[in-house]
Structures are given as C-alpha cells and as structure tokens.
C-alpha cells in the first residue's frame, strides 16, 4: 500500500443538516477503508457547540476524520468536516479554504458553497451526497455538480429524518441515485473499489 499522501481520484462531498450527525456516524462507520477518494462534509451545527464533532466521528471511523484546516491539501482516504460559522470551499489546486461571507440559504457553512466550488475544481470527479435536512441548502449546488459532469446521490426522503433537503435536490435536479443510507454507503464503497 502506498503511504505517501496522494491527491484523490475523486472527491465525495456530503451535505447534512437536521438529523445529520446520526446519519454521518452510520455512514462513516460503514465506509470501507482504505478508499481512493476523499470525503468533504458540510454539516449545519449550532455555532457554540462546535468542534467536538470531528472527534466524535473520528472515534467511530477507521480512518482520519478532521476539521478542515485552512489551505489543507485534500488527501485520499481522509474525511474533512466544516467549521461552524465558516463556509468551506474546495480550491482548484486541491486544497480547502474558508470564508466568513454571508450565509447562503441562511446557512454558514452552506452545502451549496461546498458543492459549487467542488464542482468547479474537480469537474466530473465529484460525487455529491445529500442527506437528511430541514431546508433547501444543497439543491443549487447539486445542480452545478451535474452541469460539470459529476454525480449526485440523494438519501430517500421517506427515510431521512428530515426530508426537505433531499426533496429540494430531487425537485431541481436529475439526480443519479435515490436510496436508503445503506444503499448510498454501498454505492460509495463501490467507487472505492473501481479505481
């Protein structure tokens, strides 16, 4: 196995809001490691109780889960999580960056901002996953991901703890897959084996 950090063959960007922590825990415990992609997550959280989340998720996962640092290179096999009160962006040079620009869809971090910048930077090497959430954030971003040739997977609204976010994405975009959390995890594990 190669131990030198390497640029991922593709990035999986995930948006989650209401009910998202539980969903992410499930997802990260069942992701088969090592995988050849990197995962970047935006989750809406209370701005005060912030930074325990990467720790919490790190404990359940078999790989590195960290709060994204400024200008941190995205490395395959790692999972990066947003910081409350900052938008998280993907740069064309394969690093992560932040901005305190105005909230988008009343959200900071916003899933749209992550998805759009990921699509601009990684083009068709993006898989966007929209999980449970009680607002519309992510729908516009998913559209951009499709325009640039990437794929969009959406958690089945019937199974999501809050359905508004998956529904909004499905309404606006011709998505590639709608399914249970487990089915989405299977799809992601599938990508891991292709490359």
């Amino acid at each position: 196995m190669n131990t030198v950090p390497k640029t991922p063959s593709c990035i999986v960007v995930i948006g989650a809001s209401w009910g998202g922590i539980q969903a992410l825990r499930t997802l990260l415990t069942q992701l088969r490691s090592p995988f050849c992609f990197a995962v970047v997550i935006v989750i809406h959280q209370d701005r005060q109780r912030a930074s325990q989340l990467p720790q919490l998720l790190n404990d359940t996962a078999a790989f590195r889960v960290v709060e994204a640092a400024d200008k941190e290179p995205i490395v395959a096999g790692n999972v990066y999580i947003s910081t409350p009160n900052y938008h998280l962006l993907v740069e064309q040079d394969g690093t992560l960056s932040h901005t305190i620009d105005k909230p988008v869809n009343y959200c900071r971090p916003s899933v749209d901002v992550l998805f759009q910048t990921a699509a601009d930077a990684f083009g068709d090497r993006v898989v966007a996953v929209v999980l449970t959430g009680a607002n519309h954030d992510g729908a516009a971003g998913a559209q951009r991901v499709k325009q640039r040739g990437g794929k969009v997977f959406v958690q089945n609204p019937k199974e999501a703890e809050a359905k508004a976010m998956p529904l909004a994405t499905i309404r606006d975009t011709e998505v590639d897959f709608i399914g249970s959390l487990e089915a989405i995890i299977d799809k992601l594990n599938g990508i891991g084996q292709h490359v």
Partner: protein
Amino acid sequence: MPKYQNDEDYDIHALLEVIFLKWGYDFRGYSKASLTRRIFYFLQEERIDRIPDLQYRIVRDKSLFSRFIKDVTVNVTEMFRDPVFYQSVKENIVPQLKTYPHIKIWHAGCATGEEVYSLAILLEQEGLLERSTIYATDINRSVLDRAKKGIYSDSYLQQYETNFENAGLKGHLSDYFEKGYDHVIVDSALRKNIVFTEHDLVIDHVFGEMQLIFCRNVLIYFTRGLQSKVIDLFSESLDFGGCLCLGIKETLDFYEHKGKFKTLDPNNKIYQRTR
C-alpha cells in the same frame, strides 16, 4: 500541461493581471474559490455577461473598479465574534498591555469596524483605552467610511449581546451605544482614540511599532505564499513582546520564521513576537 484548468480559470487570471497593471491592486495571491464566487456575484450586480467584458471595461472605468474593490472583498464581520477569544485576550494580553505607558494597536482588515469597537470596549473596561492609539485599516474605503461613523443596524444586536455576555464582559453592550430609530451609534468616548485609514496588506508597507495586531479572518482569503508575506509584514510591525491575533481558522504553523513567535493560545490563535 496547460497552466490553466479551463477558460474561466484563464479569464480570471487575465482579469487580475490587468487590474494589477492598471490600478496597482494585486489580487493575484488571493485564494481563487472565494474570489471567483465574488467576481461572479459582481458580474451579476453589474449586469455584465462575461469576464472578458469586465476586463475591457474595468481598465477604462475608475468607478467600476471602485465598485469591484467594494464587492469582491468579503467584509462580513460582527461584534465579539468568537467570545472565547476575547476572554483569552483578557487573560493573555491585557496584563502585559497594562505594563506599557502608551499602547499602539493595529486592526488590519477591520471591515465595518465591529471588531475594533469590541476591543475598544474591552480596553475601556480594563482602563486601557485612554492610553491607547488604535489604527484600523482596510483595503476597502467604503467599509472604512462606515466604520468611522460607528452606526449599526439593530437587527444583529441580539446576537452581539449574546456574544458580549459570553465574552465575560461587565454590564451590557447597550451601555456603549446610543439608540436610534432602527440603528445604534457607538459612544463617541469609544471612538476618540481610533484612526481609520486605507492600507493594503499586499502592497503597502510596515506600520510602526505596535504592541498588538489584530488580523482576523483576512489571511483565509490569501494563498500560503501571500500569507507568508503578510506575516513578515506583521512581524516587522510588532514590538518585541507584542502580540498577533489571527482568526480561529488561521495559523502560523506553516510560517517559515515561526521561531520568531511564541504561541500564547493555540486555540484562539494568539501569538507573541519574541525575537
């Protein structure tokens, strides 16, 4: 391999080159993702279809360029952002400031001034404001004008009050404001030792011997190369023993001469220049 990933990437680089040549403002070292978002927002605002059209017009139209500066910089800020940080300032920096007969403070990238007045309130509570001179600078003149006036809409006041309480300060934030119809005005006593002035961190020079520099949430907009250059500038502008405060996503970890600094609070990004 081509140097640019796609035409849009090329257009943006070309635009930044032209702006530098014509107006002397240098955005080439800014992080592209946020800057690109802001440029597309600007195109929409100005109803300009394509970046090459903007490039053509911006060299011929000074007022368009002024609006460009105003719109592509991210000026979002708040009072007592990161309340815990202000607690740390009180613990780690204030005792040392008390030993100086006169204190010079620089807020680099102060935006509309909320951060400047936040620190001024803290200094006032510690009995330090009287002997402080505060320089508040930004690249964007229009936010400086607003900062100088110290007039704020009261729609965020609730959040600011909460921040104020969590920062562990005495009394109420409203004690420092005069109430207007839908806005508040910062007390003139807080404002009298503050000098607001234009300064561009990329091209302008060192700024006198400071005891304290705040530059929070500005470096996130720069690439690593430019960040290093700007940190050089700060270390030259700081007195020995002076402190540098960055935003919570910013760091000196990667900085080549980080040996010049001691970390006073790693979580709140408070550093002290020791050599």
